[in-house]
C-alpha cells in the first residue's frame, strides 16, 4: 500500500467561487500566486485588497480576505488611504495595464514617489480585456487591436510604456521587478517576486511592485497556449524580464 500526501491544493486565501476569467487567462494564475503567498505568510486575516476596474474588477469575489473596489486607476490612492489609517493591515492593489499605466498613471507614480508601504501586482497583457480588446498603453508597436485596427502606429498613437523601468527611477520605490507567467519556471519566479513584494511591506520597507507579463487569449485571438507563446516571443523582447530596482535592504531580505 503506497501512502499518498497532498503536495498541492487550492490555497486557503481563495474562496470556492469559480472565476469569470476566460479559459487560459493568466489573471487566474496571478491570483493564485497571490493567494499562495498570503497563505504561506499567514497574513490572509489582516490583508485588505484593492481591486481595479478591468477584467479583474471582481477579484474581490475570489479572495478570502477583506476587499474594496476602486474607481478606474485609483487603486493606489485608495490603498494609500487605507494603509495610512490602518498601518497594521497588509494592503495591496491588483491592477491591469489600462488601470495602472493609463488612467491611473498619476496615482501609481505618486504612490511610488511617496514610498507608500503597499504592494502592487501589475498585470501587463498588452490589451484592454474587459472592454473588448482595445489598445492598451502597453500594446506593442504594430499590434492590431479593436482600436488600432491597422496596428499600433507609434507615430500617431505613441509608444508602449515600460512601467517597471519607469518606477525604478523613483527614489520612493523599494522594489520594482518584471516577471512573466508564460511557463512553469517563470511562474515560480513570479511567485518568489510576489512573496518578496509582500515581505517588503511587512517590514515597512516601502513601495513594491511586481509587473507580470500576462496573456489574454480571447482578445489576442489565440489559443491559451499560443497566447503564452506570444508573451515569450513578442512581449518579453519588448518588456525584458528582470529586477529594475531592488533597494539594498530588500536585497538583504531572506525570503
Amino acid at each position: 500500500m503506497i501512502e499518498m500526501e497532498v503536495v498541492y491544493s487550492r490555497p486557503e486565501s481563495f474562496t470556492p467561487t469559480t472565476t469569470h476569467y476566460c479559459p487560459g487567462c493568466t489573471h487566474g494564475t496571478a491570483h493564485r500566486l497571490v493567494a499562495e503567498v498570503l497563505d504561506e505568510m499567514g497574513i490572509r486575516e489582516k490583508t485588505i485588497g484593492v481591486a481595479p476596474v478591468g477584467c479583474s474588477v471582481f477579484a474581490y469575489d475570489y479572495f478570502n480576505h477583506d476587499f474594496v473596489e476602486a474607481a478606474h486607476g485609483r487603486a493606489p490612492a485608495m490603498a494609500t488611504g487605507i494603509k495610512r489609517v490602518r498601518p497594521n493591515n497588509t494592503v495591496y492593489t491588483y491592477q491591469g495595464d489600462g488601470d495602472l499605466a493609463s488612467i491611473g498613471m498619476a496615482e501609481i507614480v505618486h504612490a511610488a514617489i511617496r514610498g507608500e508601504n503597499i504592494t502592487v501586482i501589475f498585470i501587463n497583457n498588452a490589451i484592454y480585456g474587459m472592454t473588448g480588446g482595445q489598445m492598451a498603453p502597453t500594446t506593442l508597436p504594430g499590434m492590431r487591436t479593436t482600436s488600432s485596427p491597422n496596428g499600433r502606429d507609434v507615430e500617431v498613437m505613441g509608444y508602449p510604456v515600460r512601467m517597471s523601468e519607469m518606477l525604478s527611477t523613483i527614489d520612493g520605490t523599494s522594489y520594482s521587478v518584471r516577471r512573466s507567467l508564460h511557463n512553469p519556471a517563470n511562474i515560480r519566479k513570479s511567485k518568489k517576486a510576489i512573496r518578496r513584494a509582500f515581505e517588503v511591506q511587512e517590514r515597512g520597507m516601502g513601495f513594491a511592485m511586481v509587473e507580470l507579463l500576462s496573456s489574454c487569449p480571447t482578445n489576442l485571438k489565440f489559443t491559451p497556449s499560443e497566447a503564452l507563446n506570444f508573451i515569450e516571443e513578442q512581449m518579453v523582447p519588448y518588456y525584458p524580464l528582470g529586477d529594475y530596482k531592488v533597494a539594498p535592504e530588500v536585497k538583504a531580505l531572506k525570503v
Binding site: 497532498v6 498541492y8 491544493s9 487550492r10 476569467y21 493564485r32 489559443t223 497556449s225
Partner: protein, 76 residues
Amino acid sequence: MALKGTIEVDQMHCKGCSLCVEACPQNVIALDMEHLTPKGYHPAMLIAEGCTGCVICAVVCPDAAITVYREKRKKK
C-alpha cells in the same frame, strides 16, 4: 525510481484550457472529450500511468483546479 503521483481535477473550476496538458512533462494529462463539466468545458484528466506528482500542472493552472498527490518518501 520516480515517485508515484496522481491528480484530482475540480470539475467546477477546470475550464479545459489545456495549459496543464501541454505543460505535463510526462504527457499523462489530456482533456476528457467524453464529458463536460457543469460549466460546459471538457475537463483535464489523467490518461495514463506515469504521473510523478511534480506539481507542474498545478503551477500552470489558472483556475487552481488541480490537487496533486504524491507518494510519501520512505524514510531510510
